[in-house]
Symmetry: C2
Subunit: 230 residues, 2 copies
């Protein structure tokens, strides 16, 4: 019996790209600099996997996503020739705490919460996820993160740690994500899988391929559709 | 500046004693046994500190509160001559997941949540606290527990771990509790302290002494009074 749903967050629950571009554009206006902020946002996000992989391989000690984001942000600002004071960089880096939910997210989660325990299961740190939930009104039952398990997804410890701390069997827990790689790792750890299609995650100009209909336990177009199907 | 409030839960947010006595009484009725269930509840709760202290001293490996509760429950049922099947004992043990909030708790937390990050900081395990929040409608921003830090309160690691994971300085975090010993340990770790008087925690026949007015940063009669004072 399915008892709990664990949600990937960036891209699955929130539209990181539009939110980050909007704040970067405002930052550029305040600093009077002209940069391709959409590309900057994509480059910022693209730094995320290699940085986490350095932690996963043990080349870096445990480092919160906030700090990985900030290292990359400083590199990109430097490369773009933009100078800013440390507190301004801190404030800008916290844009990841202020990402807006996809339009269906709050209503879908509210419905799903009636029947299941709903938690985050994100590589974002706990304070980031907590602030984001306050910002967007996300009604989580609890906030679980890679930070709690000392491992980044797709390490198996994250998926199994989530089941253990919720006191459910792996197959009583479903990972909900817009990313097949995350879902495949969850499935290998014994979790159930729910794919949600987020065609705009990478912006309007890039197509997000849809996985085969039978690859995951549930395929949904958004969280309302997921609530209907569960 | 105060940014976050961490709440002790048993006795501070929820009325464990009335909830546990009510379910034990029902359990006794179903099993046709006559036991002083109020005393049984007090004995059950009284087993909590010595059991945690065994973990704190390293005599037991990390053990979730659910499992400490269950060990004590089996001892008490045996001593009372009550026999029950394992699944029944499991179900009864989960009464601690179904404790009712004090009458002011949900309204007070809802007000406090508007200005502060509000989290649990309890020795209860994450699944216990998550289920309790669903049961009672407790609107936590996140669910933090001794389980996440691998230490039971009053170990300093719990208070400092809470500040670290919320990304606030210790003096930007207030522990709210009905128990002076918990507040004193939090203060020694550098947290601010809010005492809430819960005169009925130990039942109507026992008086809960009120600490001196100047011992803690804030003294409140309940969570609504706390919201007024903060």
């Amino acid at each position: 019996m399915l008892r709990a749903l664990a949600f990937d967050v960036f891209g699955t629950v929130v539209d990181w790209r539009s939110s980050v571009i909007a704040e970067l554009t405002e930052f550029g206006r305040e600093h009077g600099v002209d940069v391709d902020w959409a590309r900057f946002a994509d480059d910022w996000r693209a730094g995320y996997v290699p940085a986490m992989d350095r932690v996963r391989r043990g080349e870096l000690p445990w480092t919160r996503l906030d700090d990985l984001h900030r290292m990359r942000l400083v590199e990109l600002l430097t490369a773009a020739g933009v100078s800013a004071a440390e507190p301004e960089i801190d404030a800008l880096n916290r844009v990841w705490h202020r990402l807006d939910p996809w339009p269906d997210a709050v209503a879908g989660l509210t419905r799903l919460k009636e029947r299941f325990v709903i938690t985050t299961l994100s590589n974002g740190n706990v304070s980031l996820l907590t602030n984001m939930a306050k910002h967007g009104g996300l009604p989580w039952d609890c906030v679980l993160s890679a930070e709690i398990f000392g491992h980044y997804k797709p390490d198996r410890e994250v998926y199994l740690g989530c089941a253990r701390i919720l006191d459910v069997a792996p197959d009583e827990l479903m990972l909900v994500a817009a990313h097949p790689s995350d879902l495949r790792a969850a499935r290998e750890a014994g979790l159930r899988t729910g794919y949600v299609h987020r065609p705009l995650e990478q912006g309007p100009d890039r197509t997000v391929p849809r996985p085969d209909d039978d690859e995951f336990d549930v395929m949904a177009t958004d969280f309302l559709d997921l609530a209907d199907k569960l």
